[in-house]
């Protein structure tokens, strides 16, 4: 079946603007994750959703970052008042179930550039 998809592939925005990044997980996967990859910080875990449960937000870098997952499927990561240090590739992943033994399948990422 189809893999994890993300949109847009690339996003260029001006400092101070809000951006929304979208993730469509693999059909039937209940767990969804957001990560960020930047030159300075490497790959960082941001947030995790399991079904309709409250998300684990422990990795969000600031209160400008938020995410939601509607109907236990599609997720949107929102960055408000973007800063240049938010420039990174934002990766989404999903897994069949919650659990540390589950393989996470990654999407191609959204490359965000904040000018």
């Amino acid at each position: 079946g189809a893999g994890v998809s993300q949109s847009p592939s690339n996003k260029v925005t001006e400092k101070g603007k809000d951006v929304e990044l979208r993730c469509d997980p693999i059909s039937g996967h209940t767990a969804l994750y957001w990560y960020r990859q930047s030159l300075g910080q490497g790959l960082e875990f941001l947030i995790y959703f399991q079904g309709n449960s409250a998300p684990d937000k422990s990795g969000l870098p600031s209160d400008r970052f938020s995410a939601e997952r509607t109907g236990g499927s599609v997720s949107t990561l929102t960055i408000q008042r973007t800063q240049q240090e938010d420039s990174a590739v934002y990766l989404c992943a999903s897994s069949h179930n919650r659990g540390s033994q589950e393989t996470q399948y990654f999407g191609p990422g959204t490359r965000l550039l904040v000018l």
């Binding site: 994890v4 767990a31 994750y33 990560y35 990859q37 490497g42 790959l43 960082e44 875990f45 941001l46 947030i47 995790y48 399991q50 684990d56 422990s58 990795g59 590739v89 990766l91 992943a93 919650r98 659990g99 540390s100 033994q101 589950e102 393989t103 996470q104 399948y105 990654f106 999407g107 191609p108 990422g109």
Partner: protein, 112 residues
């Protein structure tokens, strides 16, 4: 924070040779996974080894795990030009969130 540290940071070998990458981590884990990334985009899962396993094989890949030393190695045998990529180890912390904690990666270049 980075849990895993890969070593070396970069590796260049001739096609057909074997490539070995190492990963060390700091705290107790449930499992350790290796991923490959081409051109800075999506990560491809290669192999998962559980904390009670010591060695695992998948095709040309061999992964070992030594929980006493908190280290893992990834061996790619008979390397091919298409193996050129960045390789990351990732851990799921025991008792922690289910998000993966990644190392900084090893950039592998296979010379044709």
């Amino acid at each position: 924070s980075q849990q895993g540290e890969e070593d070396p940071q970069a590796l260049s070998i001739q096609e057909g040779e074997n490539a070995t990458m190492n990963c060390s981590y700091k705290t107790s884990i449930n499992n350790l996974q290796w991923y490959r990334q081409n051109s800075g985009r999506g990560l491809v899962h290669l192999i998962l080894i559980r904390s009670n396993e010591r060695e695992k094989h998948s095709g040309r890949l061999r992964v070992t795990l030594d929980t006493s030393k908190k280290s893992s190695s990834l061996l790619i045998t008979a390397s091919r030009a298409a193996d050129t990529a960045s390789y990351f180890c990732a851990t799921v912390l025991r008792g922690g969130a289910d998000g993966l904690t990644f190392g900084k990666g090893t950039h592998l270049i296979i010379q044709p």
